[in-house]
Amino acid sequence: MLPVPLEHYLVLAGILFVIGVIGVLINRNAIVTLMSVELMLNAANLLLIVFARVHNDIGGQLMVFFVLTVAAAEAAVGLAILVAVYRRKGSIDIDGLNLLKG
């Protein structure tokens, strides 16, 4: 048996995901917003690992592997965009990013 009840893991993942959502909603610093997205990805990763264990299916862990890859790509591109925005506007306040053509 799984020594820790399944609900514990599910609720923990839910809490972490909600913290990420709140972070995206209330923060104006674009870097912290990206970090909140990473938190949400990790909550999903925890669920994938838990259900890989529940169903004894290695595929869930492979999905986490691919999510790691996507997170790396997302961080690289997102941070590159932030650097470009900072060069142009001198700030990474999200509220200032309201123009389609900078």
Partner: protein, 170 residues
């Protein structure tokens, strides 16, 4: 014993995650996010995902967070550039929306009655993950190399600076 490990890692992860979104200094946020990621890696270990736990520490806490730290330090934001405090209305709206989402999630999760068997020996180790990657998931694995190449190219293209007399400059 495993309950103690779970609660320790869970509390550390949640507290660190809360500090990530509430601290004003982005460097402190990055460091707290690393703490949360390592706590999650401990949970992964508990769930018979040894290989993924190691990847979590090496790639996530190591490589990706160093990338974040590098950009935070390169932008070198002064204290007044960290952005103004969120308005009370925005904070309230975020808290209410988050609480509603959490309530929904818990309602859904509370009904789960999945049964768990003992993990087969070697489940989640390097061998079983490697066999799956280079077996059933080979095509997806090859596609990730393309994804990483595209991301690296995009990062270079987006951040490059052109010379002033470059004819391509619009």
């Amino acid at each position: 014993m495993s309950l103690i490990i779970f609660w320790t890692a869970a509390v550390v992860a949640v507290v660190a995650a809360l500090r990530v979104i509430t601290l004003k200094n982005p460097i402190a946020s990055v460091l707290h996010l690393i703490v949360a990621l390592v706590a999650l890696a401990i949970l992964f270990l508990q769930l018979a995902a040894e290989f993924i736990a190691m990847l979590q520490v090496i790639i996530y806490a190591g490589a990706i967070m160093v990338l974040f730290l590098f950009v935070v330090m390169m932008l070198n934001l002064r204290r007044d550039e960290f952005g103004p405090d969120p308005l009370p209305g925005v904070l309230l709206l975020g808290a209410v929306a988050g609480a509603a989402l959490l309530a929904e999630l818990i309602i859904v999760f509370a009904g789960s009655t999945a049964r768990v068997d003992v993990a087969p020996p070697g489940f989640g180790g390097v061998q079983s993950v490697g066999r799956a990657i280079f077996g059933d998931y080979l095509f997806a694995f090859e596609l990730t190399s393309l994804l990483l190449l595209a991301a690296a190219l995009a990062a270079v293209v987006v951040t490059r600076t052109r010379a002033p007399n470059d004819p391509e400059e619009a």
